[in-house]
Symmetry: C2
Subunit: 200 residues, 2 copies
């Protein structure tokens, strides 16, 4: 049974709880009942804040998407060679992923069963496309290898970056005790651009 507590949530703090439940149970597997239990407030209290679980999902993935698209508008994403801009964007993507870990995790798990999920997938594709454009420009400028097709390279680089959500925990053994934020950002930038091989 839900032990109702006084509803002191803001839309923001309610979102934090909902995102955790979505990640644990999957969005499809989460009911308003689950959200109510996790938040410790009644369903009607939740409806006081939001229209339903889809609105919570939309707010959560919007937060991740806004941060990611925001990178492309930052000053350093627009100055220098395409390769320099690409490196800046890659580093910032890793930073955003770690700073907004639950929101990006949720975004990456979206499957496309509802209108909000399909919209999120579409926006993700658009972001991927923008980054692929930078990669293409860097290849045209001769700074990026031409023997790996741009779309394939983009997928593999995104695969490496996105996989960080599987193991990075800011407060866990891989956070403070293991790899710190700066170390992860540098490692990704070094591997993505220089690979494992020692520069000779």
């Amino acid at each position: 049974m839900t032990t109702a507590k006084r509803d002191t949530y803001t839309p923001e703090t309610l979102l934090t709880v909902a995102v955790q439940v979505f990640i644990e149970r999957g969005y499809d597997g989460t009911s308003m009942e689950h959200l109510s239990k996790a938040a410790g407030i009644s369903k009607s209290s939740i409806y006081h804040h939001v229209a339903g679980k889809e609105e919570l999902l939309r707010r959560a993935v919007s937060r991740a998407l806004d941060e990611l698209f925001g990178i492309l508008d930052e000053e350093h994403a627009g100055v220098g060679s395409a390769a320099e801009r690409l490196e800046y964007v890659v580093r910032r993507m890793v930073e955003v992923l770690m700073a907004e870990l639950p929101y990006v995790t949720l975004l990456l798990r979206v499957r496309g069963n509802t209108a909000t999920e399909r919209w999120a997938l579409e926006r993700r594709r658009e972001f991927d496309h923008r980054v692929a454009g930078l990669l293409k420009a860097a290849a045209a400028e001769g700074d990026v290898r031409a023997d790996v097709e741009v779309r394939l390279a983009t997928r593999l680089v995104f695969g490496m970056i996105n996989s960080i959500v599987e193991w990075y925990r800011p407060d866990g053994p891989d956070g403070r005790g293991g790899a710190g934020e700066r170390e992860v950002v540098d490692a990704v930038a070094r591997l993505v651009f220089g690979g494992l091989r020692k520069a000779s």
Copy 2:
């Protein structure tokens, strides 16, 4: 209702059906009823082949794990410098992932709620550890950059490789029509060892 058909399954063909259902519904979300419907045979017919869904999961992940560990026993995984052996193993990992796509996909999604899942996770960690050992040896031999910590590099490289299950489809637009097997293997090897930057 299940329209029972004559049970012409072998353990092997039944496994193919079960793995598909596990991937679509998640292992936890799959009941014997779901398996019975997907296979088009009764639950008792399934029990004729296997003790239950956990045995099907064990067989499926064993197949993926056997193929992965098998790589480490192949001749080329044991000759040459550590960097050469590592490159061979990375290429073969990508090949195995594509050849055994559903089995590796399932292995990567295992979460650890049952004894079989925990065993699979343990074996995965063991495999990762073996590959990390090669990376460490290559670093000690001076062929791999020393400015990215071995465990972090291993995670990022596995992240890139494992992400292939998210988009590679042997018969889909990204298979025959898009990136072929050979192209993907070459792309991963080039990016993992040389990175995006054009060798100057």
